[in-house]
Subunit: 339 residues, 2 copies
């Protein structure tokens, strides 16, 4: 059953923390749903599923769970991240994000005030991104069986036209565009987690990017493929796309912007910014002839590399000193619970 | 990024248990996704979102997280339950279930063999229900921050026609149809959890119900509203629908089938079968004139009550001895982590 089904007005019960009974299907669950979820996310829904008009002949469908720790960090929180992550997954397919679901796993004992703060942040992020959160679910697990709260968002979006953005559309000669500076989300989380203070606070880049994507498309640029730079960062995204397209990517490190404070934090904590997660950055593959137009549309974007045919898929990075190294997937764990 | 993006063949690494690095965006995550998820659920997907053709002008969209304990129980497991739950939510809207997403939160230390068993069960349940699992996500949290594994499934479905099934469609004079016996899912879980052995094993009723729904619709029955009987059971579903429709429902307890072993288990454990969760049962509101047709279509279904206009929404239950009681939502927790 959709948890946004219940909207009969009941007073917010005087329970400052989540109880097992808040997930039990009875009066307390109705109370929580009415006062916390339905009040902020989807007050209008009365049926088991949300009903959405199909505004295109194809739709994009995606899902992500969010387990980020801590729940709140400079520049965002688990709620805004859960909206941005799924909006951006839809944007990467070239779709126009339309509706999201929101499913919560709550740990017994979680403060209701904390939950409310997260839900209000989700609502604000959804409004800002122009999407509606239309259906949801709530489960409660015993103390010690979650870490305060986890959120899953799934999303659907529609396409304006028949264009397909995919790795097999990438062509030799294409340029690789990076939409902005990298490494801020991961370093904002790590700084918050480790209690590190730098001269300037590093804020997450978490943001919806679908407007940037559609600005490129609306400018007539025949984008080949897009990829957001989440877990594993810029390097992992490129390595995966090189493998799936069967092409070689050569990158110029001087074109890849890393803010000084982010670079300093990476050095202190032992991270390579090329592998650090972002939540508001993407790469786009596009014809070389369109790079000037693309940079006019997105002034913060940079052309960071080029695509060539190869017998062996490969990603290389040329350093500012002229040395070239091959990038490979990391084996171990770099940044646990970053999203 | 969709976790089904990566399909380059890599050998299954020799890690019998989930490590934090399996969620880290690197080589181990690619390995897990390739060998466990993509191998069984959606081998064909290469883009961030799944692309689904819109086969109707409206679609239903729903989500549910599953935290059931234990993971395996007589008649099902968390994987099959996660498929049935979302398929059934779509069916309750009158939609034809089309595609599901599957997002996993894994606890560090989970046996890969356990995960594989769950994923194979999901794949079988999806095949059986005629839906595809088209997109997914994997997160890993530290030991003690989950209970083995949690699954979220979201789902989309399409409508054959413009019919709307909703509480406000229920009319005085309608009959209430129950699709089968109640209480088996909850009692199967509780028996497994408490290690109780009854003469006959109680198996969960967990099953997809969309074919039953569409058999009723295809027989020309103008269904008003459907509701599955999950958390809170038959009683809670009816109480909520009475409140949202503003109508009175009068039920005949003798028409509500509870198997003898389920009734015995309820008595031993102190549960009221009217409030026990089911995962393959639903109620349908339909014109009184259609009840014979409906029972021909679904031989296990029974007419359990009727709808009347009222100034005060109310659900009553007439016992076999002729006494009538008013049903109300439970306040506390009846069956934690039943789904």
């Amino acid at each position: 059953m959709s948890d946004f089904t219940l909207t009969c007005p009941v007073p917010l019960a005087n329970y400052p923390r989540v109880l097992m009974a808040h997930g039990g299907g009875g009066r307390l669950m109705r109370d929580l749903i009415h006062n916390v979820f339905a009040a902020h996310l989807a007050p209008q829904h009365h049926t088991d599923s949300a009903i959405v008009p199909a505004t295109g002949s194809r739709l994009a469908f995606t899902t992500d769970s969010f387990v980020v720790r801590p729940l709140f960090f400079p520049g965002g929180d688990i709620g805004s991240l859960a909206v941005h992550g799924t909006v951006n997954d839809l944007a990467m397919a070239g779709a126009i994000p339309h509706s999201l679901s929101a499913a919560f796993i709550l740990e017994e004992g979680l403060e209701i005030a904390t939950l409310l703060r997260v839900v209000q942040s989700m609502a604000a992020a959804a409004r800002d991104a122009g999407v509606q959160i239309v259906t949801g679910d709530t489960k409660v697990v015993e103390r010690g069986h979650a870490d305060q709260l986890y959120i899953n968002t799934a999303g659907i979006g529609f396409f304006k036209d028949a264009r397909v953005l995919a790795p097999d559309q990438i062509q030799p000669g294409d340029a690789i565009l990076l939409s902005g500076d990298i490494g801020r989300h991961g370093m904002a989380i790590m700084s918050a987690r480790e209690g590190l203070a730098f001269e300037s606070e590093i804020t997450s880049d978490s943001a919806p990017v679908h407007r940037e994507v559609h600005a490129l498309l609306d400018a007539g640029i025949p984008l080949r493929c897009l990829r957001d730079l989440t877990r594993g960062g810029l390097a992992s995204a490129l390595i995966e796309l090189s493998a799936s397209s069967g092409l070689r990517f050569d990158l110029d490190e001087t074109a890849i912007e890393v803010r000084e404070d982010v670079r300093a934090a990476c050095e202190i904590l032992g991270f390579d910014p090329m592998y650090v997660a972002n939540e508001g950055r993407f790469i786009a593959f596009l014809p070389l002839s369109c790079t000037k137009t693309a940079q006019n549309v997105l002034p913060n974007a940079r052309i960071i590399g080029s695509v060539t045919a190869t017998t062996e898929p490969l990603v290389t990075l040329r350093s500012p000193f002229g040395a070239t190294r091959v990038l490979d997937l990391l084996s171990g764990e770099q940044l646990p619970r970053i999203c």
